[in-house]
């Protein structure tokens, strides 16, 4: 049941992404609203999948690589909904929805089951820590999506290419504004998530500074802070967009490096 609900959610996301991609490829000027409806249906199934998981295993899907990826995908999809229901920025979903789909696919392939190892730090504060942290990463993914579209639209405008992307993508100012807001939210959310995690792990199960979770958390936080600093001053929109795109790539790359070198088993890290 849990897996089938996840597959249903994935189908919704993929269908919504296809609708948007088709509109982009067809040179449409606006993204169809049906994409928002499909993604909403997918997210509803995803929430049902999480609830089904909680009923079956007695915990939220926050522990273990598969469940964690599923939750991260859900938060990214929720962020997608926020943009998909707004006509002006709907095309940002053309990046966010495939990202949510990839995360969910990986989660399903790895298996949506709890990790085997016992954790000292669980319960409400753990859930809060994970959800806030993932929400921060999801917002940064949103900044990446808006930043990527900004850079592509900037190139189209500068090189006078009035093709599909020019027509479909939102205005530079709109993308810049959304990108900046997403970075601000990402930093707030990640800071709170890390603070909750730090507070409770030091009380119940202190982690060494060299632990991959700590290293990745600090690296991510520093990168997002850097992306926020890049938003300041003159010509900030383009610099901010570059910082968000490069920063998100660095966050993903640092995770993969840590994951490959630290052999985290079936845990997220």
């Amino acid at each position: 049941m849990v897996v089938w609900l996840h597959i249903g959610a994935l189908t919704g996301y993929v269908a919504a992404a296809l609708v948007l991609s088709r509109a982009l490829a067809g040179g449409e000027r606006t993204a169809p609203r049906s994409a928002a409806a499909l993604a909403t249906a997918g997210a509803a199934l995803h929430v049902a999948a999480a609830a089904s998981y909680a009923v079956r295993y007695g915990e939220l899907p926050l522990v273990g690589l598969g469940p964690s990826l599923s939750t991260f995908a859900l938060l990214t999809a929720v962020l997608s909904l926020a943009v998909l229901w707004l006509r002006d920025v709907r095309p940002i979903g053309v990046v966010l929805l495939p990202l949510a789909s990839v995360l969910l696919t990986l989660g399903v392939l790895l298996g949506i089951e709890p990790a085997h190892g016992e954790m000292a730090f669980r319960g409400l504060w753990f859930a809060l820590h994970v959800l806030l942290t993932f929400a921060g990463y999801a917002c940064f993914a949103g900044a990446f999506a808006a930043g990527l579209l900004y850079l592509l639209q900037h190139r189209e405008l500068k090189e006078k290419r009035f093709g599909r992307m020019f027509r479909f993508f939102p205005a530079l100012a709109t993308l810049g504004q959304w990108q900046r807001r997403a970075v601000e939210l990402a930093l707030i959310s990640l800071t709170l998530g890390l603070a909750v995690g730090w507070g409770w792990t030091t009380r119940f199960a202190p982690l060494p500074v060299s632990h991959p979770k700590v290293v990745w958390g600090v690296i991510s936080w520093a990168i997002i802070l850097g992306a926020l600093v890049a938003q300041r001053g003159s010509a900030r929109e383009r610099r901010g967009a570059i910082a968000s795109v490069v920063g998100f790539a660095l966050v993903v790359a640092s995770y993969l490096v840590l994951r490959l070198t630290e052999s985290a088993g079936d845990a997220f890290l």
Partner: protein, 434 residues
């Protein structure tokens, strides 16, 4: 009724050059005078006059020969001073083709610029002007036609992308600027030049909500004349560099033979590598802005070729929507024509029922006269019975007549029904009864 038709007589940019069309431009009072004249003429039951810069058309419903002839006369009165015969410029459409023509006009399929939205308002204005006259120049046929036309215009605009994208140079400039700034509300604009194109750009920017519009021209006096007429602030040319630094959008349309905005001037005017985007639209030929300006960081430079490219792309996309628009129009023409045709059966049905009622009444009176002792209750029952019988018998023919008329067979069926029920002859039984 069977001799009545919907006609349109007129001329447009398809058939007449501007020097001919300008003779046929009616102001609103002139159009109303023409309609009054037509209303008093025999054979024209209803009329609407549509006059825009690209077309003048008279929609007439009534007797074909007399009404249309009078419409021609009205147009001929405006043709003084034209060398060529008027007939070569005029076109005439009748019935379904006239209906289709109006639907194509209101949806801009017949316009000079495909997808332009102005025509919908112009058609609405023409109809309302005709409807506002004390003389009843619009009736059920043209009222329904124009109201349906306006609905078709809205439906085509909603269901297709016919009106999407800029279709003129100034609107393409606005489209470009909006892709950079999102909205132009509150943006600062600088206009170089004080000619017609500059005025058009100023009006476009103002309409989009641009705040603080500055006009600079070599001859400051001309800039002042422009801002007095269209709004904004005039500045001397030597303050150009300062103005550049405080603006978001620059529109240039001077007739200078050499570039007014050189790369050196723009680089010096803008803070080094640090500013919000600057959009420069060069609408002049020869160009007012050195191409190198487009290479400056955060400066977006577009010239006439770029604007034309956007317009051409948009028009090509609009043309690809034509089949969908034509489908909507086809359905609407069928719907209107069904209604119009079914009206043709109305008078016949009325006549048929009147004749049947007369006969029923005569027969009943004859019977009641022979039975004077019949109680009142039974008299009423007989009256009710015969009324029902007549209604039952006429129900089928009534429905069939309406259906046949709606299917376009109205004229033939009406003729056949008149013959079968002998409606063109006096009622012999009634004569006998008398």
């Amino acid at each position: 009724m069977s001799g009545q038709h919907i006609n349109v007589i007129g001329l447009s940019h398809h058939t007449a050059p501007v020097e001919v069309r300008e003779h046929f431009t009616y102001s609103d009072p002139e159009a109303q005078d023409a309609l009054r004249a037509l209303a008093h003429a025999p054979g024209a039951d209803e009329a609407v006059l549509l006059s825009t810069c690209n077309r003048t058309e008279l929609y007439v419903h009534g007797d074909t020969d007399a009404g249309v002839a009078h419409a021609y006369t009205l147009l001929e009165q405006r043709a003084r001073g034209i060398d060529h015969p008027l007939g070569g410029y005029l076109y005439e459409r009748r019935d379904q083709e006239a209906v289709r023509h109006l639907f194509r006009v209101v949806t801009s399929l017949d316009s000079m610029v495909l997808g332009e939205s102005q025509i919908q308002g112009q058609v609405k204005g023409a109809y309302e002007s005709a409807r506002s006259l004390d003389e009843r120049v619009t009736g059920p046929v043209l009222s329904r036609l124009f109201e349906q036309a306006l609905r078709v215009g809205g439906a085509v605009r909603t269901a297709t992308a016919l009106g999407v994208g800029a279709a003129s140079v100034p609107s393409a400039a606005v489209q470009l600027a909006k892709k950079i700034f999102g909205s132009l509300e509150g943006r600062r604009a600088l206009i170089l030049g004080a000619g017609e194109m500059s005025e058009l750009a100023l009006e476009c920017l103002r309409a989009e909500g641009a705040r603080s519009i500055v006009v600079a021209n070599r001859t400051e006096g001309r800039a002042r004349v422009l801002v007095e007429r269209a709004g904004g602030t005039a500045i001397p040319f030597d303050r150009l560099a300062h103005a550049l630094n405080e603006t978001d959008i620059v529109a240039t349309a001077t007739s200078a033979p050499h570039p007014m905005l050189t790369e050196k001037l723009v680089r010096e005017a803008l803070p080094r590598g640090a500013r919000s985007p600057l959009c420069i639209i060069d609408m002049a030929l020869p160009r007012d802005v050195e191409p190198g300006v487009g290479g400056i960081h955060n400066v977006f430079l577009y010239d006439l070729d770029d604007l034309h490219q956007i317009v051409d792309d948009n028009l090509a996309r609009r043309r690809s929507e034509l089949p969908r628009a034509e489908n909507i129009i086809d359905s609407a023409v069928d719907e209107y024509w069904n209604w119009y045709s079914s009206r043709r059966a109305g008078p016949l049905i009325r006549e048929l029922r009147e004749r049947a009622e007369q006969r029923r009444r005569a027969e009943l009176d004859r019977l009641l006269a022979r039975t004077p002792d019949l109680p009142e209750a039974q008299r009423r029952a007989l009256d009710e019975l015969t009324r029902r019988m007549v209604n039952r018998m006429l129900h089928g023919p009534t429905v069939r007549l309406r259906e046949a008329a709606a299917n376009g067979d109205g004229a033939d069926i009406v003729r056949a029904a008149r013959h079968l029920f002998a409606l063109d002859e006096d009622d012999p039984e009634q004569d006998t009864d008398r």
